[in-house]
């Protein structure tokens, strides 16, 4: 159905372009009293058709029709087909070759672009896998080592040693849990063709869940909350959006050195709800700001400091979640110091509930 629709569109487009350029050629011939320019004009027409239609067939068709049109209208005898004059014949063949080649070239160009996009995606995927496997090794080594040490030297270890190692194991496991949550989120949106399951979520309940979850991990970190009083419902995948806000808050706790204030601000702007996570810490270095949502997949030469990379993936995950929700996301340094992560979601339209 869809294929047929685009075919009709392509045919109409081809006809329209050829007619338009036929008229232009007529005008030019009339204006300059010479048909010398027509070949060039028709070559341009074929080029456009080949570039903007889905199949090379249209390009070749257009080139055949152009040859006929030039022969018919713009070569002696005018408005009559005549292939017996060798001059006309040669000009027709040359034009056919030129237009066919243009058509073939543009088709090839399109294929290459598609291929390039695919390789790019493949490369991203491979990078992600490599980065993750690399990052998982560090905490796993620590967990494996600590637990083996406990098992093998149980008698000789002091309670203090045991406690310290158990703490290490817990800390690294927590990090792994965070990583796995993020990966799960990615797989939840990365399935091609699978649309997000959005359900209406009450803003207040969302923020409540975020704060409860956040304070479980960082009980001593206060979060200032500023949000509208009224009842706001936003269609979203609640698990994923919770993940985004928690990632951003966690990011601030880990990286905003010297932070004394962490603020979660929510406000409406037309049909959008805007979320801001604001801190007054050290801000983000200029050279990192540009690629902050994609940086995890680039710059892999940095030595394995896994804490940093985790948040790298955290922010990449945030960006892809918001993108999947058709929202916008950005990060910037504030003039007062510290930085601000901002994203927006579309609000529920009236009469479109559930």
């Amino acid at each position: 159905m869809k294929i047929q629709h685009s075919r009709i569109k392509d045919i109409l487009f081809t006809i329209a372009v050829l007619c338009a350029f036929f008229v232009i050629s007529l005008a030019i011939t009339e204006l300059f009293h010479t048909p010398a320019l027509t070949t060039a004009v028709f070559t341009l027409a074929v080029f456009l058709v080949a570039l903007l239609t889905q199949s090379y067939v249209y390009g070749i068709l257009a080139s055949l029709i152009s040859v006929l049109a030039v022969n018919f209208a713009f070569t002696f005898p005018y408005f009559k087909f005549n292939f017996s004059i060798p001059e006309n014949l040669v000009s027709a063949v040359i034009m056919l070759v030129i237009t066919c080649m243009t058509s073939a070239l543009t088709t090839k160009l399109k294929q290459q672009e598609k291929l390039k996009a695919e390789t790019e995606k493949e490369k991203m995927r491979a990078n992600l896998l490599r980065a993750i496997s690399h990052d998982l090794r560090t905490p796993l080594t620590a967990i494996y080592g600590s637990s083996s040490a406990i098992l093998e030297n149980f008698e000789s270890l002091t309670t203090e040693d045991l406690k310290q190692m158990a703490e290490g194991i817990r800390e690294d496991s927590e990090w792994l849990i965070g990583m796995v949550e993020n990966l799960l989120s990615v797989t939840r949106i990365d399935n091609q063709g699978v649309k997000l399951v959005k359900s209406p979520v009450v803003l207040e309940e969302l923020i409540d869940s975020v704060l409860v979850r956040f304070s479980k991990r960082f009980p001593s970190q206060e979060v200032d909350v500023e949000m509208p009083e009224e009842f706001i419902s936003i269609p979203m995948d609640a698990v994923l959006i919770t993940q985004v806000i928690v990632n951003m808050l966690e990011n601030a706790v880990r990286h905003a050195k010297g932070m004394t204030m962490l603020k979660l601000r929510v406000f409406t702007e037309g049909e959008k709800v805007v979320f801001e996570i604001i801190d007054n810490g050290c801000g983000i270095a200029k050279e990192r700001l540009g690629g902050i949502f994609t940086g995890y997949l680039e710059n892999r030469d940095v030595p394995a400091d896994h804490q940093k990379h985790n948040m790298g993936i955290g922010l990449s995950v945030c960006a892809s979640i918001i993108k999947a929700h058709d929202g916008e996301i950005c990060a910037e340094n504030r003039t007062e110091g510290g930085c601000c992560f901002r994203f927006s979601l579309n609000m529920e339209e009236d009469g479109n509930e559930q």
């Binding site: 799960l184 009450v202 409540d208 609640a238 698990v239 559930q354």
Partner: protein, 235 residues
């Protein structure tokens, strides 16, 4: 009553998880029984009549939901479900089948113990715990008087509408248990339509406002996104 005597049955096929759950429950003075499959679990349940079940939903030999339904046919023993994070609908299904509560993997010891305590309290006092002899429900400074349909916060009465009161009272009667959206709607409105969940959410927002709680403060009622609400029991 002595909590040392409580018998808890863990049905979980992962030996490592079973072991650590057993260890923390032991350390906290509970008696622990274990089963690695749903068949073994059913046998243990029938022969030992435990006070609480901890059930993994992903058992190799049979559906956890069936297990819950089967137990619920005859007994009100509290069932705590261990679930993987990925799907809210699994949790809702388990709760609707009669499970009391769920803990999402990976979970910490403190969380698990708190849920076990709450579940056992339900068993000990019947469905109305936190209920003093005077027919009132209490958690922190919130008091719900079922007879006079009055809700007090400390010294002050808060005025709820009929519907709001019905919701609050329903949650209080099942305190400690997560009530799913559809359960609450069925009990409060008796029928449901496309807008029911929103109606419930709006009422809950009003209740929260009247109780004066801010997001992140779940002193009285905790909300489980996409699943339902729970009246708390712990102070």
């Amino acid at each position: 009553m002595n909590s040392n005597r409580y018998k808890i049955l863990i049905i979980e096929d992962e030996t490592n998880i079973r072991n650590f759950v057993k260890t923390i429950l032991h350390a906290n003075g509970y008696q622990v029984l274990e089963a690695g499959s749903s068949r073994e679990g059913m046998m243990m349940y029938l022969s030992h009549t435990p006070d609480c079940l901890i059930l993994d939903l992903g058992l190799p030999d049979g559906d956890g939901i069936d297990f819950i339904t089967q137990v619920r046919k005859q007994a009100g023993v509290p069932i705590l479900v261990l679930s993987a994070r990925t799907n809210e609908s699994d949790k809702v299904e388990a709760l609707d089948a009669g499970a009391n509560d769920y803990v999402t993997k990976p979970f910490g010891t403190a969380e698990l113990l708190a849920r076990v305590r709450a579940a056992l309290r339900i068993y000990q006092h019947g469905s109305m715990q936190n209920l003093e002899t005077d027919g009132k429900f209490r958690v922190n400074d919130l008091v719900i008087d079922f007879e006079s349909r009055q809700v007090m916060l400390g010294e002050n009465e808060i005025h709820l509408t009929q519907t709001e009161y019905n919701i609050a009272a329903l949650l209080a009667r099942h305190a400690g248990k997560v009530m799913t959206y559809s359960e609450i709607i069925r009990e409060v409105w008796r029928w449901s339509d496309a807008g029911s969940v929103k109606k419930l959410q709006v009422n809950m927002a009003n209740i929260r406002k009247k109780m004066g709680v801010k997001p992140g403060d779940n002193r009285y009622i905790s909300n489980e996104l996409g699943v339902g609400y729970r009246m708390n029991t712990d102070g």
